[in-house]
């Protein structure tokens, strides 16, 4: 159980630097404009550290590296234990990139009360990276809940007119799930005598259905999976655009990551022939995901506004990712990880673009938009490129991911793959509807003649995200070969529970 790699100070830095940044912003009375710049510098430094961590990462077999461990309280066996696995490091990368873009966008828009705002954004960054890095269940829970605090403030203070109900719904839904997870964590940790995930894995994980249900409740609400998505449309509509992007792009991935890492590693003696909680609940979860996939796609097709389309497509995509995870084989896992990164980038870009459009037209209603492409080539190109990748056109990174997911689930049962394939057709329908309603057709009543094209600042925020997507389209194996690789047999440190 010794960490195979050197002391992971870089993981500590990745988690703690944004928290430090948040404190710096809250305590030092920065002038208005400077606060955002300071936050942006912190988030860019964060990307730098992530690249350094990636450069250092030993991608051989399924492994955990860059770990750092410090006892937090001994008597119950809780420790500050952070590190990255092959796949979680990509999700951390997604988080830092999207957060940096969101912070840059907020700076560009000039949010009111900047110190409070940017401090919360940095706190959120640290919490999300912490969720992906935590190797101790209680620490995982701490970061999981810590995400909620800044999100509550960000939506509640800076959100739209309906923010009050939206935040209340969001918090009640998520806390109901999280508290069940806390109960599971307490019971699991005390039964095993440790809260350390790797040690629990070393002791063979758990075979309790109830405990798995506690975790699954938290993940299913946060993702969200059908029918627990009641909070989603309100929260995504009322949040500031960049916060909605973070919510659907990154925070939802914390849930799918939870399904993958905690759900399957601890509770899934899958493919070992033994029955396991995750295995027993595999069919119900797949059914909910399949329903969510089709239902979300249909709602996205019928949604009256830009954010509605992106929000419901997010429901569909997260369901697809969950299907990939519960395929429980290498291609399903790889596809799910790649799609998490893809969808995170796509969704963040689309929400930022939605915000950009709303700033020009003061509405997101599709029937009042239209004709924005004319004379605005940059906006048209960026939205088109993102939309095309989102609908998984062959050659795009989303295509690669969805192909892997479908291939993975096909080996489990071809029926699931058919549902997935239908949903991909639906994705094309809602994305093309969105593109044409915003960019093409006649000029909408809400579009002022003087509405400007993307300005340099906006391009500087959105283009890097699209560039990441294009890079992944060219080389999806950059992630898939390094996430779960080609087989899981090479796992180390008790990680081979997943061996097929």
């Amino acid at each position: 159980m010794t960490p195979p790699h050197a002391y992971g100070w870089i993981t500590d830095v990745l988690v703690l630097l944004p928290l430090l940044g948040a404190l710096v912003l809250w305590i030092v009375p920065w002038p208005r404009r400077v606060a955002g710049v300071v936050a942006l510098l912190f988030s860019i430094a964060e990307i730098g550290f992530w690249i350094a961590a990636l450069y250092d990462f030993p991608f051989q077999g399924l492994t955990i590296a860059e770990t750092s461990r410090l006892t937090w309280f001994k008597d119950l066996g809780v420790s500050w234990h952070v590190g990255f696995l092959n796949f979680s490091i990509w999700l951390a990368g997604l988080a830092v990139v999207v957060m940096a873009a969101a912070i840059a966008y907020a700076l560009w828009v000039g949010r009111e009360r900047p110190r409070a705002y940017f401090g919360s954004m940095l706190l959120l960054t640290g919490a999300i990276v912490g969720v992906f890095a935590a190797q101790d269940l209680l620490l995982f829970y701490v970061f999981w809940e810590a995400m909620l605090i800044p999100l509550y403030l960000l939506v509640g203070v800076w959100g739209g007119p309906g923010r009050s109900t939206a935040t209340l719904k969001f918090v009640i839904y998520t806390m109901a799930g999280s508290l069940l997870m806390l109960a599971s964590i307490i019971v699991l940790g005390l039964e095993k005598g440790t809260f350390d995930i790797l040690e629990i894995l070393g002791k063979g994980g758990s075979s309790s259905l109830w405990l798995f249900l506690g975790f699954a409740a938290a993940f299913a609400v946060k993702a969200p999976l059908f029918p627990l998505h009641g909070w989603l449309p309100d929260a995504y509509r009322e949040a500031p655009a960049e916060v909605a992007g973070v919510l659907s792009g990154v925070v939802s991935k914390a849930a799918t990551y939870g399904f993958l890492y905690i759900g399957l590693f601890i509770f899934g003696a899958i493919n070992t022939g033994k029955s396991s909680p995750a295995g027993d609940l595999r069919t119900p979860i797949l059914v909910l995901s399949a329903v969510g996939l089709v239902y979300g796609s249909l709602l996205a097709f019928r949604a009256p506004d830009v954010r509605g389309v992106v929000a419901y497509s997010s429901l569909a995509q997260v369901s697809l990712i969950t299907i990939g995870i519960f395929a429980t084989n290498v291609s399903g896992f790889n596809g799910a990880v790649l799609q998490m990164v893809n969808h995170g980038l796509i969704s963040a870009t689309l929400f930022l673009l939605a915000g950009i459009v709303e700033r020009r037209t003061e509405t997101g209603q599709l029937d009042r938009l239209g004709g924005l492409a004319r004379g605005r080539p940059a906006l048209a190109t960026v939205l088109m490129a993102t939309g095309i990748i989102a609908l998984a056109v062959p050659g795009s990174s989303a295509f690669a991911a969805e192909f892997l997911i479908l291939a993975g689930i096909f080996t489990y049962g071809w029926g699931w793959a058919v549902v997935g394939a239908i949903a991909i057709v639906l994705a094309a329908m809602y994305m093309l509807r969105l593109i044409s309603a915003v960019l093409h057709r006649d000029v909408g009543p809400a579009v002022p003649a003087g509405a400007r094209d993307l300005r340099f600042g906006e391009l500087a925020i959105v283009v890097p995200l699209v560039a990441c997507l294009l890079a992944l389209s060219v080389w999806p194996a950059g992630i898939t070969d390094r996430a779960f690789g080609k087989n899981l047999r090479q796992g180390q440190n008790g990680l081979q529970v997943l061996v097929r």
């Binding site: 701490v142 009050s164 109960a183």
Partner: protein, 496 residues
């Protein structure tokens, strides 16, 4: 012939926290006559603060030098770490309460008495935590209760203060009567006053299940429940908390609850270990009643003080879960939980006090609107306290709840964990309601008249709030040292 009465050996050191506070109470009281009006407020406040600081230091030394718990002064008191640690909490709470009180508009003719009573109440509480027989238990309970009755009503021009004082007096007297009657029955059954001898007599005389003993135990539990404001003995809490001057409420909510719970666990585990099969489920039931009632009632409150009062009832429930668990983790959990809880409770009432002084009217969810932006330090602090009450991470409230639930699970009482978790979920609504009011609504939206002018400068109160904030957040990061303190306190004092 004076020497004919055998006096017991007095361990002055064991009494030192109480003595420091009593000394400062005496000096403050003298200030009412000897110090001129202009300097009286500052003088008596400083003396009271010094008394609490002295008690804090003395209790810390006592903790350090009482590795093995012993009975002292004719075995009437215990000198152990359990008592010392609770004395530390009480002294810390008292110190912060002095800060909160400093700018309170108390009539100058009463200000010296106010601080004198504040110190005397603390002395009684510290004494109670060390009680080792039923007599000391009752005397010290009355000692601090009488101080608090007066403190509640001392500002008799405040609307509701007299009512609060009277209600507390009557209901508190009721609780004391229960306790006294229970003690008498227990004494009648066992013929012993001292806690450990009650236990010994119970097993030696085969009194387990004795009707008299059990009725006595039940009555004692009711009496202690009054002081801990646990349901169904909570009726006085909202009115008294709302009516009393806010600094007094702040002190009561933190310190009274601390000693009441500390003593409950001590009495139950040392005097009635053989009745655990009876009192543990009973305490569990009281805990559940408190959680359900406190949380549901808090949902509908408009006044922030009343909401906090119901929240304190629900927290009594959480802490009683730890008592009901009746195991070592439970003891640790209780002592640990009390530290951030006291800080959060004191801190939140302090913020309410600041708002009250600014607006000159009771603080409601409506008129606290915009506080977060107007006074960011108080806003951030209050947010932290509310998140802490709700058991969110980055505050000691989270680790406290975690330990409490761990204790219940360690006993395999999953039903207590489930009720606790459901209560936490419900409580989010009203705790977040405060945050929503402070940050997400502006006074302009609510059409409130601006109070006008600069808010008064509140250096002492600000220091108290920041102190409470530091404890709330610090107890999350410093779990290990605090838990070590609590573990030694349990192992040196109780047989869990």
């Amino acid at each position: 012939m004076i020497a004919s009465i055998a006096t017991p050996h007095v361990d002055w050191f064991a009494l030192s926290p109480s003595l420091a506070l009593l000394g400062s109470a005496g000096v403050s009281l003298l200030a009412a006559v000897l110090v001129p009006r202009t300097g009286r407020r500052a003088f008596s406040a400083w003396v009271c603060a010094l008394g609490y600081a002295g008690a804090f230091v003395a209790a810390a030394l006592l903790y350090d030098r009482s590795g093995h718990g012993t009975a002292v002064i004719a075995e009437a008191m215990r000198r152990d770490r359990w008592a010392a640690l609770s004395a530390i909490v009480v002294a810390g709470a008292g110190l912060l309460a002095v800060g909160v009180s400093y700018n309170q508009r108390i009539r100058v003719t009463h200000v010296a008495e106010y601080y004198s009573l504040l110190a005397a109440a603390g002395a009684g509480m510290v004494f109670l935590a060390a009680a080792n027989n039923l007599m000391v238990l009752f005397l010290s309970l009355e000692w601090f209760s009488i101080c608090l009755y007066i403190l509640c009503a001392i500002d008799y021009e405040l609307v509701g203060a007299l009512e609060a004082g009277l209600k507390y007096l009557v209901v508190g007297g009721f609780g004391s009567a229960f306790l006294l009657f229970g003690s008498a029955l227990v004494y009648g059954a066992t013929g012993e006053l001292q806690f450990d001898r009650i236990a010994a007599a119970t097993s030696a005389q085969g009194l387990t299940g004795d009707t008299l003993l059990i009725i006595g135990l039940a009555l004692m539990l009711a009496g202690l429940g009054y002081k801990a404001s646990a349901a169904p003995f909570h009726m006085w809490t909202p009115d008294v908390y709302e009516g009393a001057p806010t600094p007094v409420t702040a002190f009561m909510s933190a310190a009274t609850k601390t000693v009441a719970l500390i003593l409950t666990l001590r009495v139950l585990t040392t005097a009635f270990p053989r009745e655990a099969h009876l009192w543990a489920p009973a305490i569990g039931a009281i805990a559940i009643a408190s959680l359900v009632l406190g949380n549901l009632a808090a949902l509908t409150q408009k006044s922030v003080k009343r909401m906090l009062a119901y929240s304190s009832i629900s927290h009594a429930g959480f802490m009683l879960i730890a008592v009901a668990a009746n195991n070592a983790i439970g003891g640790r959990a209780l002592l640990y939980y009390l530290i951030p809880y006291s800080a959060m409770s004191l801190g939140s009432f302090a913020v309410v006090a600041a708002r009250e002084r600014e607006l000159r009217q009771p603080v409601t969810f409506d008129n606290i609107a915009g506080l977060g932006w107007e006074r960011p330090v108080f806003g951030v602090a209050m947010t932290t306290f509310m998140l802490g009450f709700a058991g969110m991470p980055l505050t000691g409230g989270f680790t406290g709840k975690f330990y409490v639930f761990a204790a219940a699970w360690d006993r395999r009482w999953i039903w207590l964990v489930i009720v606790g978790i459901a209560a936490t979920a419900v409580s989010l609504y009203y705790y977040l309601g405060v945050i929503r009011a402070m940050f997400m609504r502006l006074p302009a939206e609510l059409q409130l008249a601006p109070s006008g002018g600069q808010p008064p400068r509140e250096l002492a109160l600000g220091a108290a709030v920041i102190g409470a904030l530091a404890v709330t957040v610090g107890s999350f990061f410093g779990v290990q040292p605090l838990i070590d303190l609590a573990r030694h306190a349990v192992s040196s004092s109780l047989s869990l």
